[in-house]
């Protein structure tokens, strides 16, 4: 007992840490209860219930003062939980919707395969998702954000069909790209301002020059991918429909909100200055203006796309993108209005809450219908109202919510957002914002149109022949759908309470004029102007639906494939850049490798050439030369031998003749004295004589020559 109360106290002291670790614990337990269906499901449901309870507790604590928990040196980077009311609010509704989805999974997943894996990753994703909301520092946020991206991949590809794998691949790569863009932004921010804390840093950023554009752009891309902002939305219409319905509900209801949450933290907090009077508001104002236009394009184009889809979950996925456009437009208006953006803040926060409930609900209801009919195509469904009454009513309530019918939750947030865009227009009287307001109203009409197309398509009309026996609704489903409808109605009927208890205090984390916050609290929503502002799109939308249905235009209109930004831009871009790099790398490799390895080959060629030269040319020349030389030599030799022969053969004769002549010279004097003196016997005397004469001459020259 003591241990238990100590454990509870410890939990309550470290609430943020426990909120992120409990689902991890649940994952371990789920893995252990691999084969025991009931225990495993019970663990998933009860742990998400406990986490929801802890989030409520945390929210109540944070109402008094922000909760901070830090581990400065952990993981070499430092780790921090810092929960303000805005984050706690997100954690609160996220854990509630998660709890509902876990409950719904119990019935829905009973026909699916690999349930243990599904539950384990459902819990892991919960950790990542809540962690994002509970940190006060961007590095820690990044950690949880990436964790959520990677673990939710497993939920997306759960079916393991070809379509699911393709969607998952798309989702994974875009998530990773987004994550790294985020990291680049975070690191740049750290070097521009020296901190990554989620606090107003506008003054410090003003000194960073053009770097702040890069910071904002990187962070916006990173979060924008998750938030499904056009043109970064391409993964969303593929990934959300293929996941199991409870997972789709969480993807659309909660996980894209982490992207919106990040954008809000960046655009409305980090890049804004901390004080009202400071002259650094214009940067965030400009960012807000850009944001408004991205958002307006997002909401309108996605609504058009949603209108012409025929798959229930795909309609809902496009609708999610469109609704994110509403939220981001609020974010943009809040940033554009700067210090006076409290109304816009109230609008987008309220819409985030609303969307979490009605979109998660709609996805789960679509899932319930799919589980019973195995159909998601609108053309093959119809007339289900009688066999699924609770689902029908809950669906109608959610649809009224998303369409913004007075009395339902969408009415409140859309009214606030409408106020925000009008205020933004009145801020500087830019005509472009007037245009944005008109598009906002038109998108409202399109929303009404597609959501009632969905409703009428599923529940009214005649039931197709192949849908004969429809199983009854399980109790758990009725409970979950009832809870969702109740939430939608509560948010629609008691706006004052929500604004006062949650949203206005949450605005204190941001830099807003207190007068404007009070103005937000004084909204009572039931005046003629607001009602007209909402009734116009409803009337327009219903008329449009009637016309389109009458003319059967839904079947006729289909978008050409080349219009898809995925086909038109991303796919060719990625394919061509990949091809370019591969070709460059491959070419380089071949080239370098070839040339490097060709050096020995070249040497070999030279050597072979030398061999050819040596063995052939030189040889032949040498041989010929040799032959010639031999011939010449032989000729010379023959000549020589002939000479020798001639000489020596006749030598005796010659000698004899020579001597005879000599002696004749000597001994046959012919009366000359000279011949008698110069004869062979006194030759040495003659030489002596000559030498002496030479000596005398040289001696005389030597003595007297100078």
């Amino acid at each position: 007992m003591v241990v238990l109360s100590a454990a509870i106290n410890l939990t309550l002291d470290n609430l943020p840490l426990c909120i992120v670790t409990f689902p991890l614990l649940a994952t371990v337990l789920i893995a252990l209860f691999n084969r025991r269906e009931i225990w495993r499901n019970l663990v998933a449901v009860s742990f998400s219930g406990i986490v929801f309870y802890l989030c409520v507790q945390l929210f109540l604590n944070v109402l008094e003062a922000p909760v901070v928990l830090t581990w400065p040196q952990y993981l070499g980077v430092g780790f921090e939980f810092k929960v303000d009311l805005f984050g706690a609010l997100f954690a609160l509704f996220a854990s509630l919707v998660w709890f509902m989805a876990a409950l719904f999974s119990w019935t829905y997943m009973s026909h699916e395969h690999r349930r243990t894996r599904y539950y384990a990753f459902l819990m892991l994703t919960l950790t990542g998702c809540l962690g994002v909301f509970l940190t006060g520092e961007l590095f820690s946020l990044f950690f949880f954000f990436e964790m959520m991206s990677l673990t939710s991949y497993v939920l997306v590809v759960h079916a393991e069909t070809k379509e699911a794998m393709a969607a998952g691949r798309n989702y994974l790569y875009l998530s990773i790209f987004g994550g790294l863009s985020l990291l680049a932004g975070i690191l740049l921010l750290q070097y521009a301002t020296g901190t990554t804390a989620i606090t107003p840093q506008g003054e410090m950023l003003a000194g960073a020059g053009s770097t702040r554009f890069f910071i904002t752009a990187f962070l916006m891309i990173g979060f924008g991918i998750k938030a499904g902002m056009v043109p970064l939305h391409i993964w969303l219409p593929k990934a959300h429909p293929v996941a199991p319905s409870p997972a789709s509900a969480l993807l659309s209801g909660i996980m894209i909100k982490t992207g919106a949450y990040g954008i809000i933290r960046v655009v409305n907090l980090i890049i804004t200055p901390a004080a009202a009077e400071h002259g650094h508001w214009h940067f965030s104002e400009n960012a807000g203006y850009v944001m408004i236009w991205f958002a307006v394009v997002t909401m309108f184009s996605a609504a058009v796309m949603a209108l012409f889809q025929s798959n229930i979950k795909r309609i809902l996925a496009y609708s999610s993108i469109s609704q994110m456009g509403y939220i981001l437009m609020g974010v943009g208006c809040a940033a554009y209005l700067g210090y006076e953006g409290a109304i816009a803040f109230g609008g987008f926060t309220y819409h985030i809450l609303n969307h979490a409930f009605f979109k998660a609900g709609l996805f789960m209801m679509a899932g319930a219908i799919y589980a019973r009919t195995h159909e998601l195509e609108l053309s093959r469904l119809g007339g289900l109202a009688r066999s699924a009454p609770v689902t029908t009513v809950a669906f109608l309530v959610s649809a009224a919510g998303i369409a913004g019918f007075p009395g339902f939750n969408g009415y409140i947030s859309k009214t606030l957002l409408h106020h925000a865009i009008v205020e933004a227009f009145q801020h500087h009287h830019l005509f472009s914002l007037r245009l944005a307001e008109i598009i906002f109203t038109l998108t409202g009409a399109l929303t009404v149109c597609y959501i009632f197309k969905l409703f009428t398509g599923i529940f009214t009309g005649s039931r197709p022949a192949h849908l004969t026996s429809i199983p009854r609704e399980p109790f758990l489903e009725k409970a979950v759908f009832g809870a969702i409808a109740a939430a939608v109605l509560y948010l629609g009927l008691a706006p004052q309470a929500v604004l006062k208890k949650a949203i206005a205090p949450a605005a204190n984390s941001f830099t807003y004029d207190s007068y404007k916050i009070n103005y937000l609290l004084k909204q009572h929503f039931l005046n003629t102007a607001d009602l007209v502002g909402v009734l116009i799109p409803i009337a327009l939308g219903l008329t449009l639906l009637y016309v389109l249905k009458r003319r059967k235009l839904f079947q006729k209109v289909s978008f050409p494939a080349w219009l898809s930004i995925d086909r038109a831009v991303y796919a060719p871009l990625s394919r061509s850049s990949l091809a370019l790099f591969t070709a460059a790398g491959g070419g380089l490799e071949q080239g370098i490798d070839g040339s490097y390895l060709r050096i020995p080959a070249a040497f070999g060629a030279v050597c072979r050439g030398m061999g050819l030269f040596e063995g052939d040319l030189i040889d032949r020349a040498g041989r010929r030369l040799n032959k010639a030389v031999v011939q010449v030599r032989e000729k010379i030799y023959a000549l020589w031998m002939a000479l020798i022969n001639a000489v020596f053969g006749n030598l005796a004769l010659l000698l004899r003749r020579g001597f005879k002549t000599l002696f004749q010279v000597d001994y046959r004097p012919r009366g000359s004295k000279l011949f008698q003196v110069v004869n062979i016997s006194n030759l040495d005397f003659d030489l002596l004589l000559i030498v002496m004469i030479l000596v005398i001459i040289l001696g005389l020259i030597f003595l007297f020559g100078h």
């Binding site: 040196q73 993981l75 070499g76 980077v77 950690f143 990436e146 964790m147 990677l150 497993v154 590809v157 393991e160 794998m165 998952g168 691949r169 994974l172 790569y173 990773i176 790209f177 790294l180 863009s181 990291l183 680049a184 690191l187 740049l188 750290q190 070097y191 990949l578 790099f581 591969t582 460059a584 790398g585 491959g586 380089l588 490799e589 370098i592 490798d593 490097y596 390895l597 020995p600």
Partner: protein, 488 residues
């Protein structure tokens, strides 16, 4: 006494290799135990020097003056210690893994001889105290790994061997040239923390550029910098433990280590900053990182994909060291350690896949996670670590490198690393996804999924990779800090 330790680290494997050479081909138990014993002794001698290094003491031993100024000289400083301790630790695992992997292969005697012998060469490279010793052991490493590359004795292996040896000796020749240039300029080849080329006569500055180009080109062949990398993918014909240890840890890291030595022990930070040459190298390295990663995407053979990934990852290390900042160097050195642990895990997994299933192509491996759950889990840890996911150790070096890039005012480097991380995920994630989420022909294992001598080192290394990430503050970071303290 401590002077004996670096010698011991070099001589134990040498002696082990000699003994193994004379053990009969059939007596595999003897051979394995001597090989593992020799490697453990090597590891022990390297590890026993660690306390000295951490205390900032430097163990020196100078022997055999071949000529005046040309000594065989060992000097164990913190930089060498990182390389020495990482490779000797991983050598123990690779040795044990080899026993399982090689069980049915031919020519075990020569394999084990040279595998142990190359440990000696690697230790020599790590603990070399001057460029001459480094050069000798560097060439020694090339020679004694050649028989391992051509082990299969097929035509392909022979060609790869020729390619490998010609690249290696080509690089070695360039280092040999620069060796004499440095000797004549600085009068010594001994490594010093502040560099030895800083005091060179300004008139001879031109030579410093020449030496830089020669040295970097020489070491880049082993570090697989992009124009000189193609031996590495070809050398993947070697048995997997060889690819794992030598082509992810020892040889390629010897090249990177050589580059680091040239930067920080020969030139010194100041001199390099004045010379202002690293920017040119950075362009090449950035290209290597991106192109290596892209080339990896189109590979279908698992080992080739890992090889190209190695080329990219080695680029990170070089990029970190050439930033010439404490953060950059720390990132590079941490990545030497982290990449070694992660990549060897990946290669070990590839080896298990090859031994158990006989498949080498990724397209045949759909659903292999069913047959080899633990192996593919270890593979996922390695792959996620290289992608930089917390808390596996790869994130830390990436974080340091990114920080270095941004804080050095060169965000381009950081963008290159981020870009390459995207590419990393593009070539690693499909492997994991295919293994776990695709239906294939594989069945659940009946008993243990792979031989224990292979599975146990793999799993231990995967766990170690996580532990190194979680407890980096107690393990790798102090070691790296010891280097940073001496240099900056």
């Amino acid at each position: 006494m401590p002077g004996f330790l670096p010698l011991a680290a070099v001589l134990f494997p040498l002696a082990g290799a000699l003994i193994i050479r004379f053990i009969h081909e059939e007596k595999s138990a003897w051979r394995s135990s001597i090989a593992v014993g020799a490697i453990i002794l090597t590891f022990a001698s390297a590890a026993s020097m660690l306390p000295y290094t951490m205390r900032g003491e430097i163990i020196e031993v100078r022997l055999i003056p071949l000529v005046e100024n040309l000594h065989i000289y060992f000097r164990v400083d913190s930089l060498g210690m990182i390389f020495g301790i990482v490779s000797s630790t991983l050598w123990v695992f690779a040795m044990i893994y080899s026993i399982g992997y090689m069980a049915r292969e031919h020519g075990q005697r020569s394999y084990f001889t040279f595998f142990v012998l190359s440990a000696s060469a690697t230790m020599g490279v790590a603990f070399a105290g001057n460029l001459f010793t480094l050069y000798i052991f560097y060439e020694y490493l090339a020679i004694c790994t050649y028989p391992l590359v051509v082990h299969a004795q097929t035509r392909e292996a022979t060609r790869a061997g020729i390619k490998y040896i010609s690249y290696s000796f080509g690089g070695g020749a360039l280092i040999f040239l620069s060796l004499f240039a440095i000797l004549s300029l600085a009068g010594t080849l001994d490594f010093a923390p502040g560099g030895i080329l800083g005091s060179v006569d300004p008139a001879d500055r031109g030579w410093l550029v020449v030496i830089f180009v020669l040295c970097i080109a020489g070491f880049s062949t082993k570090a697989a910098v992009m124009p000189l990398h193609s031996w590495l993918p070809s050398a993947m014909v070697a048995p997997t433990p060889v690819s794992a240890l030598l082509h992810a840890v020892a040889i390629v890291k010897a090249g990177v280590f050589g580059i680091t030595r040239v930067f920080y022990s020969l030139y010194g930070v100041e001199t390099l900053r004045e010379l202002n040459l690293t920017g040119y190298l950075a362009v090449v390295i950035c290209f290597t990182i991106i192109a290596g990663s892209v080339m990896a995407i189109k590979q279908d053979v698992l080992k080739l994909r890992l090889a190209y990934s190695t080329i990219g990852q080695l680029g990170y290390i070089t990029l970190g060291t050439l930033m010439l900042t404490p953060f950059g160097l720390a990132g590079g050195l941490l990545h030497i350690i982290n990449h070694a642990f992660l990549k060897i895990t990946l290669f070990f997994c590839a080896g298990i896949i090859i031994t158990v299933t006989g498949k080498t192509s990724l397209s045949d491996l759909a659903g292999v996670g069913r047959r080899l759950p633990l192996t593919m889990l270890a593979f996922s840890i390695g792959a996620f670590g290289l992608m930089g996911m917390l808390p596996i150790c790869g994130y830390l070096s990436k974080y340091y490198l990114l920080t270095a890039g941004f804080s050095a005012g060169k965000p381009v480097y950081a963008y290159v690393i981020l870009m390459s991380t995207v590419l990393n995920s593009i070539y690693y994630l499909p492997i994991i996804v295919n293994a776990f989420f695709k239906q294939g022909l594989f069945e659940r294992p009946r008993s243990i999924e792979a031989p224990l001598t292979m599975l146990v080192p793999t799993v231990i290394l995967a766990v170690a990779a996580v532990a190194l990430g979680l407890f980096a503050g107690y393990t790798t970071i102090p070691l790296v800090n010891a280097v940073i303290r001496t240099i900056f």
